[in-house]
Structures are given as C-alpha cells and as structure tokens.
C-alpha cells in the first residue's frame, strides 16, 4: 500500500485554453475566458456572459483524434481530451502495465444532447443518428466512453456531488490507491455548457450579468463555464522513476447540512472539510502558502467560505484567490481544473490573480491577491470546492520533496 499519492500527469481544457500550457499562459497574462455564448442556442445569450470553449463538438471530436462517426456528447469529448493530455504528461504508454482505474465526475452527463433531442427520443416515428445518445444521457456513460478509448478496464466509477464532484473523484481515487486496490488512477471531472444548467442557475437568480467578481462586496453572482480537468495519480510502486509534479497530501469531505442549495452563513461544512484535509496531510494552516478558493462570486458562497477560512486561519490568511473569473464556474470539473492551477502554482511559484475585484467585503479579514505574484516559494496549496446539497470538499497539494 502506498502512503503517498503522487501526481504524475495532468490535462485540462476550458475557456482559457485547450491544454495546461495554454491555460497557464492565460493565467499569467490575466486573459479571462469569459465572453458571449456561441455554441448553444439560448434566449439568454445576450444577457449572461459565460466561460465557453470555442470549439464545436465536431471540432472537439477531431481534437480528440476520433473519426466523425465516433463523436460523443460534449461532456465525454471534453473529458477525453483532458485525459489524453494527462496520460501523455504522465508518460503512460502501456495502460495495462499497472492496475489502473478511472474515477470521473460530471453533473450534467449527456444532458447537452438530451435537451436537443428529448421530443425526438419520445417519438417512435422519428429516428436518426442521435439515438445513440439516449444511453449517453447517464453520467457514467461519459466515463465508459473515455475508458474504452484509452483502454482502462480495472476499475471505473463516476461521482456526482454537484460543484464539488471532481474533488471527490480525486479523493476516492487517492483512497483506492491507499487501500492497495489500484496502483494508479485517472481522476477528475468534466462538464459541458447546457441550456439545462444555464436556465437552472438563471432560475436560482445567481448568474452575474457582468463578469463575476469573487470576494468583492458588490459581487452579483457567478458565470457558468465548461471544461474538463484530469490528473494521473500514482502509488509509490507505479510512480517509481517518474517525474512527480506534486503530491496530493490532504483531502476532506463534509456536509454543511444547512440548506439544499445555500451555504450556511458561518461556513460550518467548509470549515470541517478543510479541517479534515489538514488532518490527513498532517499540515497546519500556517504551512499553506496559497489558497485557491471556491469563490464563485455569489453573495452566499463567498461569505460562507470566507468566514470559514477566517476561522480556520485565525484571520491570518495566506495569499488567496478565486480563478473562477478566468474559467467561469465549470461545475463538476472545477475542483480538478483548480487542482491543476494549484499544482502550477507550486511548480512555477506563482499566485494567480482574483480578477475583477475592487471592493473588500467588510465581513472578512482578508483581501484576495489581484495581480500575478511571482517568486514566493509555494510549497502547499489548499483548494476548496463546494456544491449543492451542502457538499463541501477541500484538497491540499504539496511540493514533492
């Protein structure tokens, strides 16, 4: 059994780039991916800015090296592209060399296709190539699509706990390694933009009509995004002799048990999740050099999260920023994408800016970092992700010693 969890590969795609290198360049140059919705039809197009990947499903299919007839849902395609990059950076050529699994996560699954064809699905008289997407509606289908393309067979699962999903996928994968069930696991999440989520968040009245402003006292809500992020995490055995990008040193999940969608004002669940992550890692809050916050830009999240951070860090909060103003809120994928940003922060000793921030929140002791900071040694990064249903998760990434 491995006591340590090594990160050897990572891959991502989002509104700020089709891979890790492009994403890093956008982060360094404060290039936000938030803009106008183009790829899907919605009457809210002109009203709400989004973090959209500017590629059609056909283009994504080609990007993933698939034939046109192999096209799948946008969720599955984004996931595959990120997984391919993660395997490449991990230098994995023979997937069968070790016991390898995949733990993916998604909140929309194949909804992006279902919402276009629902009435055709129900009409026996109609038929078309879209029939193959009926089964793809299920969240697990995107995971099986990815697994089949890269040849993973030993263990597959999919998690859906709303916006903390991929943090939980990473956590479950790490525990499978620690229990000696697998040697290495592809972990992360994928979610595509859908009318379903756009309208859901519209109905909740938590979408900002401008670019989102996490931790600003004048914040008006979040911007939706889409994307996928995946890590390859490995045991000591399989990682031997490989370049280690970072270690996953801590993780914790808890439940706020306060309200179906809203976080508690004191952030009790968030506090517990972070506390558990510290316990697993053996680190103290003073060891943390940077916090990549969940920071969605909604009134309730930022207050709840900020209050919990203030409490846990005794108001002595290290550099902190939310990168949601770059990518938008990528829902199930956000924890993995921000996990990648956390590893990049360690690798390049950088702190990425919290864009669009002007006015401090009087309730909180800290102000986020608003310009790119370089040079400070980053050894440990805390990354938070919270979801509907009170689901709160925290991950700690550490420099490999």
């Amino acid at each position: 059994m491995s006591s340590k969890i090594y990160i050897t590969g990572m891959g991502m795609i989002s509104a700020i780039g089709n891979n890790v290198a492009e994403s890093l360049a956008s982060l360094e140059n404060s290039n936000s991916g938030i803009g106008t919705l183009e790829n899907i039809r919605s009457r809210h197009k002109a009203i709400i800015p989004v973090g959209e990947i500017k590629a059609s499903n056909e283009e994504l299919t080609a990007m993933a090296g698939l034939l046109p007839e192999q096209q799948s849902t946008r969720t599955a395609l984004l996931g595959l592209i990120a997984v391919q990059e993660a395997l490449k950076t991990a230098g994995i050529t023979d997937i069968k060399e070790f016991r390898t699994g995949i733990i993916s996560s998604t909140s929309v699954g194949g909804m992006g296709t279902t919402e276009n064809h629902w009435y055709e699905y129900l009409d026996k008289e109609k038929t078309g190539p879209w029939l193959k997407y009926i089964e793809a509606h299920e969240c697990g289908d995107s995971t099986e699509f990815i697994a089949d393309k890269i040849g993973i067979k030993d263990y597959l699962s999919t998690i859906s706990t709303a916006c903390s999903s991929s943090a939980n996928a990473i956590m479950f994968g790490a525990r499978l390694i620690k229990h000696g069930i697998l040697d290495r696991v592809v972990v992360g999440g994928t979610d595509s933009m859908t009318r379903f989520t756009i309208n859901g968040f519209m109905a909740l009245m938590i979408l900002d009509k401008e670019k989102c402003k996490p931790f600003d006292s004048d914040r008006q809500g979040l911007n939706l995004g889409e994307g996928a992020g995946f890590f390859v995490i490995e045991s000591e055995k399989s990682a031997k002799g490989k370049e280690i990008l970072a270690e996953l040193s801590g993780y914790g999940n808890s439940n706020d048990a306060f309200h179906q969608t809203a976080s508690s004002p004191d952030g009790a669940g968030a506090y517990l999740a972070m506390e558990k992550a510290f316990k697993v890692s053996g680190l103290k809050p003073t060891d943390i050099d940077y916090i990549n916050a969940h920071g969605t830009g909604t009134s309730i999240n930022d207050l709840s999260e900020g209050t919990a951070i203030d409490k846990l860090f005794s108001k002595n909060v290290p550099n902190i920023s939310s990168t949601k103003a770059f990518t938008g809120h990528t829902l199930a994928a956000c924890a993995a994408i921000e996990g990648i940003f956390s590893v990049l922060a360690i690798k390049h000793n950088m702190i990425f800016p919290n864009l669009n921030y002007v006015n401090p929140m009087t309730e909180l002791s800290f102000k986020p970092t608003t310009t790119l900071e370089k040079g400070k040694k980053i050894n440990h990064v805390l990354s938070n992700s919270f979801g509907f249903g009170g689901n709160t998760s925290a991950l700690i990434f550490s420099r490999h010693q």
Partner: protein
Amino acid sequence: MDALIDQLKGEIIEQLNLEDLKKEDIDNEAPLFGEGLGLDSIDALELIVLLEKNYGIKVANPADGKKIFQSIRTMAEFIEANKK
C-alpha cells in the same frame, strides 16, 4: 384588494405545493417566511416567478423579495402598485 388577496392565496397554495393548506388558514398579515408559513429562500424564488408569470411584474433582485413577501397583504399591495 380582497379579491386579489383571495386569488393570490390560491395561486400560492398551488405554486408552492401547500396542498394541506386552505385559503382560510393563511392569515393576511402573518409572515410568509420563517415563523408564519415556514417558507424559505427557494419559495421566494418561486413567488418571484409567480409575479412575473401571472402579473407581468419583474423582480430583478431576489433580495427585494424580503420586503415584498412579508405577508399576503404586502404582496397584494406590491401587485396593486406595480401592475401594468
């Protein structure tokens, strides 16, 4: 105003699935949220849609709901004042 209040009660019972309640169970002045009917923030969003759909009144900021939905009477008064 009384007719509007009566109509509103029926609409609220339907929109919020308060099947066990009758119109006469809802006090015109009692608070809708918290102590009174025990409604929550999701109900407030449901009521905002009710105003838009049935009365053509748009409430852009959910925080405004607090004042509007204090009681059935304040809600009716708001509708009277803003109806097009």
